[in-house]
């Protein structure tokens, strides 16, 4: 076996070398670890470091303009009492006031309920659907059909469900009334049911996303492990929880992260369906934020709410990653 020679400038020679190394994988395994990791890193000649910055500069400039600059102003605004003409510095007053604002705290509580219900139903249903689709011979058609709700603009989906929930001619309203679950109250106009109604819309529209992601994860579950566990004596259900789920965790993490952040941001359908009502029954925090900032034009307070929302999102995101990464790390 040849030694790994110094990085060659000739890509062909390098490729040939890698190929040779693979062909003799037994020997490769036998060699000390340090030599194996000493693979050719790049075919490019080394470049002075400042060029990297030159090359990244346009992207950074655009990012700064559309993202960093507004973010900076958000922070500034949250410390001011903003009017059309300009702002007046008020320090942390905007933040302090939030803690005595009942609707702000309610908004958090409602957002938590909304988010947990949405995520729970979506992950449960999504994985279940993925398993069904994966074992079906009509997989392609089912996937196409499942994708349809996701293709729709959330506001349009909201409008569609607004009709379905309608107290006069809504189909769901009629069906629920027929089986006696619902009395005369309209679904969206009743504080008892409005929250479930907006959760259902979100579940309808976004469960397919979880399904698609989980389906991709299911394809990667090593078949021989499933079979080994079966021969070892596992029932199909046990096999699912012992082998399939641990393999699904990493992809589910991505799905849950995406959906949870969406729940904290997307309020199109909620605005169309209930606008936060009846009363404040569905006034989840982002809806309240929208009202404060763009209905009452209290931009300073709005900015303060937005920042707290951002911070909580970041913290929860980090926590989620940590929880989900654990089984993955154990996998190594």
């Amino acid at each position: 076996m040849t030694d790994v020679s110094p990085i060659s400038a000739n890509p062909r020679a390098v490729a040939a070398q890698i190929f040779r190394a693979r062909a003799h994988s037994a020997e490769v395994e036998a060699r000390p670890q340090s030599e194996i990791t000493n693979r050719p890193r790049s075919f490019n000649p080394p470049m002075p470091k400042r060029y990297y910055y030159y090359l990244m500069a346009p992207a950074i400039a655009i990012l700064a303009f559309i993202s960093l600059y507004p973010f900076f102003w958000l922070i500034v605004m949250s410390l001011q009492d903003v009017d059309i003409g300009g702002g007046e510095w008020v320090g942390f007053k905007n933040y302090v006031k939030l803690f005595s604002d009942g609707r702000f705290l309610d908004g958090w509580w409602l957002l938590a309920q909304y988010s947990v219900m949405c995520l729970g139903l979506q992950v449960g249903l999504g994985v279940l659907l993925a398993v069904v689709v994966n074992s079906s011979k009509y997989e392609k058609y089912l996937v196409t059909a499942l994708l349809m709700p996701m293709m729709m603009a959330p506001a349009v989906a909201g409008l569609l469900w607004l009709f379905l929930y309608n107290g006069t001619f809504g189909w769901y309203h009629w069906i629920l009334q027929s089986v006696g679950i619902l009395d005369n109250a309209s679904i969206l106009a009743s504080a008892n049911t409005a929250m479930y109604a907006i959760v259902l819309v979100d579940v309808w529209q976004w469960t397919p996303l979880i399904t698609i992601i989980a389906l991709a994860g299911l394809k990667r579950v090593p078949r021989d492990q499933l079979e080994a566990n079966m021969v070892d004596g596992a029932s199909p259900l046990r096999n699912f929880f012992a082998i399939t789920m641990p393999n699904l965790y990493p992809v589910l993490l991505i799905a849950v992260l995406l959906r949870f952040m969406d729940n904290f941001r997307f309020i199109d359908s909620v605005l169309v369906l209930t606008g936060g009502g009846p009363g404040s029954a569905t006034k989840i925090l982002p809806v309240y934020l929208f009202e404060v900032a763009f209905k009452f034009f209290k931009l300073g307070r709005g900015a303060a709410i937005a920042l707290t929302l951002l911070i909580v999102t970041i913290i929860l995101g980090k926590l989620l990653v940590r929880v989900f990464e654990k089984p993955q790390n154990e996998k190594g």
Binding site: D224, Q225, E227, A228, N229, M230, D232, G233, A234, E330
Partner: protein, 364 residues
């Protein structure tokens, strides 16, 4: 412990038959190897035994129990997979304990059995590690450990040592054989490596194209292959084949090639039984049934030209150009012929074979 009977079993994938009318009986406690090239149906057979694959037609019996419709978990078999199939998120201990846990064994039993198996396989020091921290050979042992803790009726080994390097493979061959003798459990071992089958098994089932070609002990398979395909597949270096004419001459029957004319032994004439009295046939002779010399030993010797010499440590393999074909001869490293020189070959007629030129079945 069980006698395994495979009765008229067929396996279809769509319209394609993968296993055709297979009949095998593995005696209780025996080590049976299913040998064949890839795509011969050996893995399908094993997966049907394990219950991972539906049996299209026919029956499989463990002792007298028909197991066609039993789920894998109810068959009481243990399987070792080609890629080990260890559970990456579990420690070695938990991997080995898995079948016991699934059968709700008590914690004491689990501990006793796992440590016992680990000791037998010399992996006691690895129990707390995870699979990704192990070498190929160690993973292999863990996979075997997981199979043996349960004390099943039947072991199924699916090319378990194919991915190990050559030296470790040779070592593991001996270990697995010894393990099977110690435990006394019936074992079915699938492999494409004829050397593994010959060196380990009590009985070998040679499969090709979904059909059983031959069933027998390793010696029977090696010394008396039933057809040219088995003869060519088993044995390394492979058997030489020469197309010859069969010609009667007085009481003798001769094998005639453009290069030589050699009479059959009297017993072999009887075995030929007039079947191919005046036609073509394929002569098969293994490299070690030929001897090579630089001077003509007798009238019947073949004459050829040395094409290339390969020194294989304790042996030398000489490839000889014989008119329009090449045959390989095993000799000692002391052989002094050089490529391009003339040489003479003589055949050990006790060890040659004649196959039908058409369907390839062996006359002897």
């Amino acid at each position: 412990m069980a006698t395994v009977t495979i009765k008229n079993v067929w396996k279809y994938y769509g319209e394609t038959p993968a296993v055709k009318d297979l009949n095998i009986t593995c005696p209780d406690g025996s080590f049976v190897s299913i040998l064949g090239p890839s795509g011969c149906g050996k893995s399908s057979t094993m997966r049907m035994l394990a219950g991972l694959e539906h049996i299209s037609a026919g029956d499989i019996l463990f002792d007298d129990q028909r197991i066609n419709d039993l789920a894998p978990k109810d068959r009481d078999v243990a399987m070792v997979f080609e890629n080990y199939a260890l559970y990456p998120h579990k420690t070695v201990y938990e991997n080995i304990a898995n079948p016991l846990r699934l059968r709700k064994a008590s914690e004491d039993t689990i501990k006793a059995r796992v440590t016992g198996a680990a000791k037998l396989l010399e992996i006691s020091h690895l129990l707390e590690r995870r699979p990704h921290e192990l070498s190929g050979g160690q993973k292999q042992r863990v996979a075997i450990g997981r199979a043996i803790v349960r004390e099943p009726k039947l072991f199924l080994f699916d090319e378990p040592i194919a991915h190990l390097d050559a030296k470790l493979r040779a070592h593991m061959r001996g270990e697995i054989k010894h393990l099977q003798r110690t435990l006394g459990t019936t074992m079915i071992y699938v492999t494409h490596d004829q050397l593994e089958a010959l060196s380990m098994a009590d009985y070998i089932a040679v499969m090709h194209d979904g059909e059983l070609q031959q069933w027998g002990t390793p010696a029977e398979i090696f010394n008396h292959p039933v057809n040219a395909w088995v003869a060519g597949f088993v044995g390394e270096p492979a058997m030489n084949f020469l197309t010859c004419d069969i010609k009667g001459q007085g009481d003798d029957v001769l094998l005639r090639h453009s290069n030589f004319e050699i009479p059959l032994l009297p017993g072999q004439v009887r075995q030929l039984n007039g079947a191919a009295q005046a036609g073509t046939a394929r002569m098969g002779v293994r490299p070690d049934a030929l001897s090579i010399s630089m001077t003509r030993p007798d009238e019947a010797a073949m004459q050829g030209e040395i094409f290339v010499n390969e020194l294989l440590g304790g042996d030398m393999l000489v490839e000889v150009q014989l008119d329009d074909c090449r045959i390989r001869v095993k000799t000692t490293p002391e052989f002094e012929g050089k490529p391009g020189e003339n040489c003479f070959l003589s055949v050990n007629r006790d060890k040659w074979h004649v196959f039908d030129a058409g369907d390839g079945h062996a006359y002897f």
